[in-house]
Symmetry: C3
Subunit: 276 residues, 3 copies
């Protein structure tokens, strides 16, 4: 039995998630449902895509991902089911799929059309759950819709490299639970242009001149404890998703603040890397 | 094996939910536990009832719902297990069951009395879990308590219709994750009195003259994009639970605000519908 | 198949939890994963220990607990897997295990060393999940590391009893979802020194002279409703974990406040019990 994942902006209080899970279990008593996140900022498909992009591959092939963000169908955003990279995604055609899977070409896309399709304000329950259960039972996409080509393409911010190859200009694409600031500059891009040069990362009025592989690498254990860097100090990191991230070591966003609040960096803000 | 659902005001941080789930799995290794919500406002049985009322029917018949809000037994609020509408509910007799199931007559109610019943401050763990596991194993209600008649009845706000049939006066009964304001006026009541007349919905100083079936119906796709209504605009909706709801299209309560904050509407406030 | 529990400070929004669950299911399709908490304050191993200490025993013996707080290995805090009290814990050797299991001597501790061990910033995914799956499949600890003796010991605040046996000085060790204030004074200690004497509990400028077994015991049902204590009144409790707790009956931290905000008590603050 395939896994069905849920990624929504429904929050954790309302009845929506309970209704969805009950409906799935009513149809498939041995379903395996996994919550990826229900705390996406309302209607924020960029955030939704970031979270799915960095988690969907962890699941077994054949997993069915319900994308419950901005899911109402409109004349311009039809409901679609997409088979791509060994996984299934069910969403409105609002661009979120193109942000999740980027350059990977979908194997199949169908525009969803099921009998007695409800037209209400809760399509995740009325439509996506039916389609997910159909796929989980081993059903074909052709049965729930007709083939469709016009996948809506949205472009994420892409980092720019200056003509002289001396500078990479990136943007903040996500701020995590610790207030750590994730840029869209990937390690592979950084390394491709670095050519062994020294560099400085500029974010607001801060400058960082090296990038660690894990947070605690900021600590130089050869130094006396009183002279080491540690909690509260700024660092740059190649994070576990392959992006360059700015972090405050052991930050707590709710008390002392994190990199986002301490640097004053928000979604879309610029991060610059100069090779020296 | 029946599903056991959990609806509590325990929040997501403390050890309570972990202890409950561990105890259930210790007793029933193949239990299926579903979280409906742990974010009910503390001791708010109206909110708890709204959420359960709108989700319990999605679950298969025979599902066991543990209601962990205001669950301490007192001389006035005994612990009860109720079989109603094909489902089981375990709660204190604080009125929450009458709010969840309204006019549906319970098939059976027992006042819980189990051997060595703990009398502490965590009855969901000490009592409800035992009863839920008993029912999940196919046990009878009679074994965990003696029949009981005095189900505590609480009345929800009911909408009033004026004698001339020209006005429905309703109240706000819930505010959801998006700040959308749900009234207690059901579509069926509205339609029963409408008789094809035009109408206006009054909420504070706002007036709305039509009701949509889904949020995006606020968009008139025949108009040029720059002239359409869209994000930030107010609308009324027959929502997925059958209530009239006031919403701001694509609102984000944490940033720009939702209908509740923008209209200044809170729980209990009045919403008026005048037929013209 | 053993249960795998997750206790982290990852929050509920980011992709971390989804990635962890997907990876576990990819390796063990019939795994049973239980979230204990993902809302630990960042890097707060005291809080993490309090929550695990009060929930792990509820799970069946053999349960595997992944501790995802302050989990990066350093020269001083290696990754360890510990078998203790019939359970398994996987964590960094940062002291959290000693706070969870206190005086219980571990049966076995290994310093984790697995082939191709990733050295990145997401060791819960890269290392702990592998070890948990190995144990869940019935594997031995010896296979994932070599025996290790130097379990880092942290001491929790311990209550002090004055020489004359007249006073117990305790501290706040946790504040729960309701704002209830949990002290480190256990019922057993209190009873051992009480000797039938009257007492007063002092917390800031408040004095309490009895301790209840459940919250609603504050209500004296023999009194007229208008003269009873009830919502908003302060009480002391032997809570379900055996600690003395100060609570406001039916408090809501987000609206009227709880014991922590109303008494002005925070983590570490002193609570005094004088025997009279």
């Amino acid at each position: 039995m395939a896994i069905i994942t849920l990624t929504t902006d429904f929050g954790h209080k309302d009845h929506f998630i309970g209704a969805i899970k009950g409906t799935i279990y009513k149809e498939l008593s041995d379903a395996k449902i996994v919550d990826i996140s229900h705390s996406i900022s309302p209607f924020n498909i960029q955030e939704c895509a970031y979270i799915l992009k960095n988690s969907y591959k962890a699941f077994p092939e054949g997993t069915i991902h319900i994308v419950g963000v901005d899911s109402e169908p409109t004349l311009e955003n039809k409901h679609i089911a997409v088979q791509v990279d060994g996984h299934y995604f069910i969403s409105a055609n609002n661009g979120v799929i193109s942000l999740i899977t980027n350059e990977i070409k979908p194997d199949k896309i169908v525009e969803i059309s099921i009998p007695n399709q409800a037209q209400g304000s809760f399509p995740v329950l009325d439509v996506f759950v039916q389609v997910a259960c159909h796929i989980a039972r081993g059903g074909k996409l052709d049965v729930v819709g007709k083939e469709f080509k016009a996948l809506k393409e949205l472009k994420d911010f892409a980092p720019r490299v200056t003509n002289d190859g001396k500078t990479i200009l990136g943007n903040v694409i996500y701020i995590d639970n610790y207030g750590n600031v994730i840029s869209n500059i990937q390690k592979s891009l950084f390394e491709a242009y670095r050519n062994g040069r020294n560099f400085e990362i500029l974010a607001r009025n801060k400058k960082i001149s090296n990038i660690h592989d894990k947070y605690s690498d900021i600590i130089d254990f050869s130094k006396d404890k009183s002279k080491r860097k540690g909690p509260g100090d700024l660092l740059a990191l190649f994070n576990s998703s392959g992006y360059i991230e700015l972090a405050i070591y052991k930050s707590d966003l709710n008390t002392v603040g994190g990199a986002s609040t301490l640097l004053g960096l928000d979604y879309r803000d610029t991060i610059t890397i100069n090779f020296l």
